[in-house]
């Protein structure tokens, strides 16, 4: 009897579960993105990692949207007016905007958020760089935000694009620096559903978004600590898209008929650089060691090394071809700001030798290494790189070979990144380093690195100092005419390129991949590749 009853219950349970499972409802369209990181924090004031910004981009709105071609469009505001002197900006916020919790989003939220960023020095990235020109921010009863600047600046869009608008009613009552913000009430095209740090972020679509309601229902970002696992996961269909992969995997993924590879400049373009310590001992900052080799202060040496550097070989060997030769710190991914009119120094060891001969660097003792013109020191340079760099060891070998051919020898050594930071700047206790920078959408941040002012702050790695350049930097910061500013930015790049301040071996490309049998509509034909960007994620739809 008992047995029979148990059996009946079991059958009933099975029938019930079958019903609930197959009720004819369409499966939700869930995009699974595999990436190798995880946001450091969801507090927009404290975050550093790009993964955090990717999530902010999807969950929050800001005044402007950064497009994949590098341009900006208004987002939360329907119009922006600027006063004649360029210092007062009035943004008319769209009517009827709503937070994810249903509360109205108004100009008051926007003004409150900008004031928060401006007045919180514990938000070092926003506070120090994006708000120093903010004087006052007020909201008006007409749902307008009036932003008064201390002086007119040309790049207001790039100052506002990373200032995500937060709900006043949530943030008013929390500790601004310690708030973990895991509930993340935003207004963007996706809502935070679930977040487990270092495991995954699950976002659901905000189908009521005012401008870009997504077509899919959910996006899941899953963390893979191991890039081989990431590649295997897209191959077997455990994820639909991967934002990064080792270059070595590109070739084999390309062969898979269900996988499409996208290669191009990343949304936040990076640049790898070979840094010459050319600091004039007179400019040695307080506490500096300034032990750089004197020869590196001579442009002839740097020019000869530039002519002896085979960039294509570096790209082919190190990046397996997935990158472009570089010119200055401003990468090609910055679009109009990149000075495409410059012609690179041709790879010509004969010419390089000639330059060194003419400048008086001869190999007097016949050991294959040239000496200083006064015979005091051989051209032997210390070459350092951060020990966590994957590419630098191979690059140092190739450089030693290339520069060895023109009588310059290297003492290559990997250094702990902390020690290297201490060695670097403003200590200037090195000869040559291999390192890199990530870029802002606006060129100002990277152009600053070449200024004299950046020497004592530790941002200048080369100690390069050129009053003419410094003046141009100041000018471009206040030049309101776009074309005129671009002109100056190009001129600055030409100046530092001619002075061979750095050798830029390459601009790394971004390699991403998606499965063609799951979702369609990914954006692949833009200047920058970022499939996990809002631009792609709101457009894609399931393959029918």
């Amino acid at each position: 009897m008992k047995k029979k009853m148990l059996f009946t219950i079991l059958i009933a349970a099975l029938a019930l579960s079958a019903c609930s499972g197959g009720g004819g409802q369409a499966q939700p369209a869930i995009v699974r993105v595999g990436w190798a990181g995880s946001p450091d924090t969801l507090n927009p004031g404290m975050a550093i990692l790009t993964e955090a910004y990717t999530i902010f981009e999807l969950v929050y709105d800001s005044m402007y949207e950064l497009n994949l071609d590098g341009s900006f469009t208004l987002s939360l505001a329907e119009s922006a007016n600027v006063s004649d002197d360029g210092t007062v900006w009035t943004f008319k916020i769209r009517d009827g905007l709503k937070w994810h919790d249903g509360q109205p989003l108004t100009a008051e939220d926007v003004a409150w958020t900008y004031n928060l960023y401006k007045d919180t020095p514990e938000y070092p990235y926003l506070n120090g760089y994006y708000t120093p020109y903010f004087d006052t921010i007020e909201s008006t009863p007409d749902n307008e935000v009036v932003l008064t600047l201390t002086e007119a600046i040309p790049n207001i869009e790039s100052q506002l694009v990373f200032l995500y608008i937060l709900p006043k009613h949530v943030w008013e009552s929390v500790n601004k620096t310690e708030y973990e913000n895991v509930e993340m009430i935003g207004s963007g095209p996706f809502k935070m559903a679930e977040y487990v740090q270092n495991e995954f972020v699950r976002l659901t679509a905000n189908k009521d978004h005012f401008s870009t309601p997504p077509k899919v229902d959910e996006v899941i970002f899953q963390t893979f600590e191991n890039q081989d696992a990431l590649v295997q996961a897209i191959r077997t269909g455990q994820v639909d898209m991967v934002t990064e992969m080792p270059n070595t995997a590109a070739e084999s993924l390309k062969a898979d008929e269900n996988i499409e590879l996208v290669v191009g400049a990343p949304l936040a373009p990076g640049v790898t650089d070979i840094i010459f310590n050319q600091l004039d001992p007179e400019n040695c900052p307080e506490g500096g060691i300034c032990s750089g080799h004197p020869a590196l202060r001579d442009r002839n040496i740097r020019l000869a090394m530039a002519h002896a550097t085979d960039k294509q070989q570096l790209i082919d060997v190190i990046l397996l071809g997935l990158g472009n030769p570089g010119l200055t710190l401003i990468p090609d991914g910055l679009g109009v700001w990149y000075n495409s009119s410059l012609t690179d120094y041709e790879f010509d060891p004969v010419k390089a030798n000639q330059i060194l001969d003419d400048a008086g660097y001869a190999d007097t003792d016949g050991d294959g290494i040239r000496e200083m013109p006064d015979g005091s020191e051989p051209l032997t340079f210390r070459l350092n790189w951060p020990s966590d760099s994957i590419n630098a060891p191979r690059m140092s070998e190739l450089l030693a070979e290339m520069w060895g051919a023109i009588g310059i020898s290297l003492e290559p050594q990997a250094v702990d990144p902390d020690a290297l930071t201490a060695q670097c700047c403003p200590a200037f206790d090195f000869d040559i380093m291999i390192w890199g920078w990530a870029s802002d959408p606006d060129p100002s941040a990277l152009l600053y690195v070449y200024t004299t002012e950046a020497i004592p702050t530790g941002s200048s790695e080369t100690g390069y100092s050129n009053p003419e350049y410094d003046e141009l930097y100041t000018n471009q910061q206040v030049e309101l005419d776009f074309e005129a500013r671009r002109e100056i930015v190009w001129q600055m790049q030409k100046m530092v390129f001619d002075d061979v301040v750095y050798i830029i071996p390459f601009y790394d490309a971004n390699v991403q991949a998606y499965r063609t049998d799951r979702f369609t509509g990914w954006i692949t034909d833009q200047a920058k590749v970022e499939l996990s960007d809002i631009t792609s994620l709101v457009l894609i739809e399931p393959v029918k």
Partner: protein, 342 residues
């Protein structure tokens, strides 16, 4: 020496070792070159004020210990700083209150980060250890019982290979094999499973555990088989086993009543030591399978130079190793009375 005194002495020693580790752990991270406020974040946007803000936030603006400068013999006696305001005192005070500082990277208390991760690791190595102990001991007994037959040679051969396999390599191999079988290759659970019934969630976690646990089990099973076998062979060659056999006991009786308990001693030692070290040793398995445990937390903290997390994790590992050893010692005093005799 009586048993109580032996236990007290061992416990006291363990306590002093922990205090030593606490102190060492503090200075280890402070003698490293570089400025933690700038490490890991190279950004031209960071100006001097911003770096100072970070320094103040993490207490790095305070002196490491009082009179640190005056360690220079010329300056001895010049200690103007309030000793309660030094980094070391704050560290010690926080530690007593169960605080391990705030992660530079995640901006969250280290205790929270390590706490969530620790349970995941315990789950993984708990199951892995139990499986490898059971299988290893069983194979070990089997190999010793079938000594000098081809079965023993096979068992020893397989165990040797398993034990000497590089963990990382075996994990990658299993990852490739598992992924083609449709097994999940990363994480602890399928994202979005939290809305499902508990039973289904557990099933999902079990599925995710399969590959990492298998890797772990294979590696440790080999070790335990070899130890169990050699220890049992030793015991089986003792005179009292011969006399037991002379009494007419059969093999099963001899193993069960006379040999196994004695042969377990070396295995207990190794298991105890392993328990301490596997927290650190599991780093490779966790990072291959993106298992969100303590091992991968350490791996990430190393990459991101997140010293408070590393400092906390090292302390945790050191304490686990010390306690595991103490536990082994204490178990010994009960299993083997000779241990208490000096």
């Amino acid at each position: 020496m009586n048993r109580t005194r032996a236990v007290l002495r061992k416990t006291a020693w363990s306590f002093f070792t922990i205090v030593f580790v606490v102190v060492l752990n503090f200075f280890l991270f402070r003698v490293l070159p570089g400025d933690p406020a700038r490490a890991g974040i190279r950004d031209p946007r960071l100006n001097k004020d911003a770096i100072e803000v970070i320094r103040v936030r993490f207490g790095l603006d305070k002196p490491i210990i009082n009179c640190f400068d005056s360690l220079n013999p010329v300056k001895v006696g010049n200690c103007a700083v309030n000793p309660l305001e030094t980094q070391f005192f704050i560290y010690a005070k926080n530690l007593v209150q169960g605080e391990l500082g705030i992660s530079y990277h995640a901006n969250r208390p280290v205790v929270d980060i390590l706490g969530e991760r620790l349970w995941n690791t315990i789950l993984l190595i708990g199951v892995g250890q139990i499986l490898s102990i059971i299988l290893g001991a069983a194979f070990g007994v089997f190999a010793a019982w079938k000594a000098r037959t081809s079965l023993e040679y096979t068992a020893v051969g397989i165990s040797l290979v398993a034990w000497s396999l590089p963990t990382f390599w075996l994990a990658i191999l299993l990852l490739f094999w598992g992924s083609t079988m449709g097994l999940p290759v990363a994480g602890k659970a399928t994202p979005g499973m939290s809305s499902f019934p508990l039973l289904q969630q557990w099933g999902d976690i079990a599925k995710h555990m399969l590959l990492p646990t298998l890797t772990y089990t294979i590696i440790y099973m080999g070790e335990y088989t070899l130890i169990m076998r050699s220890s049992l062979l030793d015991v089986l060659s003792e005179d009292y086993i011969l006399s037991a056999r002379a009494k007419g006991l059969n093999t099963v009786q001899i193993l069960r009543d006379h040999a196994l308990k004695n042969a377990m001693l070396p295995l207990v030692t190794v298991i105890a030591i392993n328990l301490g070290f596997t927290v650190a040793g599991v780093i490779q398995i966790e990072s291959v399978f993106s298992w969100p445990g303590l091992g991968s937390a350490i791996y990430e903290a190393v990459i991101r130079r997140d010293f408070p997390v590393l400092q906390g994790a090292f302390l945790l590992i050191a304490i686990t190793v010390i306690l595991a050893n103490l536990l082994a010692d204490l178990t010994y005093t009960y299993l083997d009375p000779r241990v208490t005799v000096e």
